[in-house]
C-alpha cells in the first residue's frame, strides 16, 4: 500500500492538525508573551511569582502529587488481583471500572458533596456507629478525594494491561531459578510493569495538576489551584494574556513531569535488578 496516492491522503489531517493543534498552541505563546496593546512582554509569565499565583501552583503540585501516589498504591494491588482472575470474569471486571465514566463527571463529583458533607451520608453512618465525624468537605482532603475518585481508572487500566501481558512462564522461570513469591514480584513482575506504572502516573498526574472543576466542586471555591486561576482569567476577567502566560508555566510543568517519567522509564527498562 506504499504508493504515492496513499501518502497524499495524509494531507487533510496534516492541515487539520496545523489549524487546530499547532496554530492554537502558537496562539497561547503569542497571547502569553504580549500585553493588551500587543507589545512583547514577559510580565504574564513572571506573574507566577505573585503570592496568589505561586501558592495556587504549589497547592496544585502538592495535591496532584499526593493523589497520584495514593492512586498508584490503590491501583497496583487491584490490577494484580484483576489480572489474576480468569478471563471470563475479567471482561466484566474491566467493564465495572469503565462504567462509572458513563455518568456525567460533574454529577459524579457533586455526589461526593452529598456523601462527604458534615451532615452527609458518611458522617451519619459514622455517628450511628459512634465514630468521630469527618470534616472533609471544602478542605484540600476533599479535593484529593475527588482526584483519586475521578482518575483511579486511568491508573488501574494501564497497569492491568501490562500485568496481563507478562508471560506466566517468566514467573515460573523465576520460581524455577529459586525465587520465592516476594523475590519473583520484586525482580520480575514489578520491573516488567514499569511502563504501565509510568503511563498511569502521567495519566493521573497531568489532569490532577491542571484541574479546576474538582477543586471548584469539592473545595468550596476557597482553595484555588493553578487551573482555577487560569480558568478565571479566561472566563471572569477576560485577561487572555495573563491566562496564557500562566498556561505556558503550566505546560512547562507538564513537560517536566513527562521528561522525568521518560527518564524513569528508560532506567526501568535498562538496568533493573
Amino acid at each position: 500500500m506504499k504508493n504515492k496516492f496513499v501518502k497524499w491522503l495524509s494531507l487533510p489531517y496534516a492541515f487539520w492538525s496545523l489549524a487546530f493543534i499547532i496554530i492554537p498552541l502558537v496562539m497561547v505563546f503569542y497571547f502569553g508573551l504580549t500585553d493588551k496593546t500587543g507589545k512583547f512582554t514577559f510580565a504574564n509569565i513572571l506573574s507566577i511569582s505573585l503570592p496568589v499565583h505561586f501558592k495556587s501552583l504549589l497547592i496544585a503540585l502538592l495535591l496532584s502529587f499526593i493523589s497520584t501516589v495514593i492512586c498508584l498504591l490503590l491501583s497496583y494491588p487491584l490490577a494484580m488481583i484483576l489480572s489474576s482472575l480468569n478471563s471470563k470474569n475479567n471482561k466484566l471486571m474491566i467493564l465495572i471500572f469503565v462504567l462509572p465514566m458513563w455518568m456525567n463527571f460533574l454529577l459524579r463529583t457533586l455526589a461526593w458533596q452529598t456523601l462527604l458533607e458534615n451532615e452527609g451520608v458518611i458522617n451519619t453512618i459514622l455517628r450511628t456507629i459512634h465514630l468521630p465525624a469527618l470534616k472533609i468537605i471544602n478542605t484540600p482532603y476533599a479535593i484529593v478525594f475527588g482526584m483519586i475518585y475521578n482518575f483511579l481508572p486511568f491508573m488501574v487500566l494501564p497497569i492491568y494491561n501490562v500485568l496481563c501481558k507478562i508471560d506466566k512462564n517468566l514467573l515460573n522461570a523465576a520460581r524455577d531459578l529459586g525465587a520465592n513469591e516476594v523475590q519473583t514480584f520484586l525482580k520480575v513482575t514489578l520491573p516488567l510493569s514499569v511502563p504501565g506504572i509510568i503511563s498511569g502516573i502521567t495519566m493521573v498526574f497531568v489532569p490532577a495538576l491542571t484541574t479546576f472543576v474538582i477543586s471548584d466542586l469539592l473545595g468550596g471555591s476557597k482553595i484555588l489551584l493553578i487551573g482555577n486561576v487560569i480558568e478565571q482569567e479566561f472566563t471572569l476577567n477576560s485577561n487572555w494574556h495573563l491566562g496564557s502566560g500562566l498556561s505556558i508555566v503550566l505546560m512547562l510543568f507538564i513537560i517536566i513531569s513527562m521528561i522525568i517519567t521518560a527518564i524513569f522509564d528508560k532506567d526501568g527498562e535498562g538496568s533493573a535488578l
Binding site: 500500500m1 496513499v6 493543534i21 498552541l25 466484566l92 457533586l110 507538564i254
Partner: protein, 260 residues
C-alpha cells in the same frame, strides 16, 4: 484467607466507585429539591423531564455533537492512520508526535488554545466551534485505535487481492478495510464517549447561547442542581448499563449453556 482479602479489597473499591451513582439515583427520586435532605419518594422529576425544553435542548446538542464529531473524526482519523503508516519514518514520527499533543496536554490548555484561536480569527462562538474542538480532540483516539490494526495487516493479503484481479480501490475495501474495521469501530465508540463526557474543552469553546448537558450542570452548581438532571443522568446510566449487559454478558452465557 488471601482470597477473602482480595474479595474484600475489590468490594471496597467497587463501593468507592459506585457510591456516587447510588446517591444520584436516590436523589432523582427525592421530593425535596435539596441535595442534603430526603423529602420523600417521587417520580415527578422523571415525568417533568420531557417537558423541560432547556434540558431537552442541551441533551439534543450533546448527542448531536457526539454523533457528528465521532463520525467526522473517525472518517478523518481512519484515513490519516492509513496514510501515516505509509509515510517515511521521519515524517511519520513527526505526525505521531503532533497527534499525541492533545492526548498528553492538559485539557484546560487545549481548551484555551482553541478559544484563543477562535478569538484571534474572530470566529463566532457557538455549536460549530464546539464541534471543531470535539473533532480535534477525538481524532487522536481514532488514529491510536486504528493504527495497531493497520500494523497487524498482512501486506500480502492486499497484494493477493490485486493479483486475483481486484483494483487497488476494490482490494482496499474487500481485504484491508474489513481487517481494520474493529479498530475503526472502537475508535468511533471511544470518540462518541469522549465527546459526551467532555466538559472542560466545551466550557472554553462554547458561545453564550449553546449548552451541552455538562455545561448546563456546571452553570447550575452555584444555584443548585435541577433534580431533573439527576433523573436524566440516571436514565442514561441505566440505559448504558443495560446495553453493556446485553452486548457483553448475554452471548457469553448463551455459549456456556450450550457447552453444558
Amino acid at each position: 484467607m488471601a482470597n477473602v482479602l482480595k474479595k474484600i479489597y475489590i468490594a471496597l473499591i467497587f463501593i468507592f466507585l459506585y457510591a456516587p451513582m447510588l446517591v444520584l439515583i436516590v436523589l432523582s427520586f427525592n421530593k425535596s429539591k435539596s441535595r442534603a435532605k430526603w423529602g420523600g419518594f417521587t417520580f415527578k422529576w422523571y415525568t417533568q423531564l420531557l417537558s423541560d425544553s432547556s434540558i431537552m435542548e442541551a441533551l439534543v446538542t450533546t448527542l448531536l455533537l457526539a454523533v457528528l464529531s465521532a463520525l467526522i473524526s473517525t472518517f478523518i482519523g481512519t484515513i490519516a492512520a492509513i496514510a501515516i503508516t505509509s509515510l517515511k519514518k521521519g515524517t511519520r514520527t513527526l505526525m505521531m508526535g503532533i497527534t499525541n499533543i492533545p492526548m498528553l496536554n492538559a485539557e484546560i490548555v487545549t481548551g484555551i488554545s482553541l478559544m484563543l484561536l477562535f478569538i484571534f480569527f474572530n470566529v463566532k462562538f457557538g455549536f460549530t466551534t464546539i464541534l471543531l474542538a470535539h473533532i480535534t480532540f477525538n481524532i487522536p483516539y481514532v488514529i491510536l485505535s486504528v493504527m495497531p490494526r493497520i500494523k497487524q495487516l498482512n501486506p500480502s493479503a492486499y497484494e493477493a487481492a490485486m493479483d486475483l484481479g481486484a483494483s487497488p480501490f476494490k482490494a482496499f475495501f474487500k481485504v484491508v478495510f474489513p481487517d481494520i474495521l474493529p479498530g475503526v469501530f472502537s475508535g468511533l465508540l471511544m470518540a462518541f464517549t469522549m465527546s459526551i463526557d467532555d466538559f472542560i474543552i466545551t466550557h472554553f469553546t462554547k458561545g453564550a447561547g449553546v449548552d451541552t448537558l455538562s455545561t448546563k450542570i456546571y452553570s447550575q452548581v452555584r444555584k443548585g442542581i435541577d433534580p431533573k438532571m439527576y433523573a436524566l443522568s440516571s436514565l442514561i446510566f441505566v440505559t448504558v448499563l443495560v446495553l453493556l449487559i446485553l452486548i457483553n454478558i448475554l452471548p457469553g452465557s448463551g455459549k456456556k449453556a450450550k457447552e453444558k
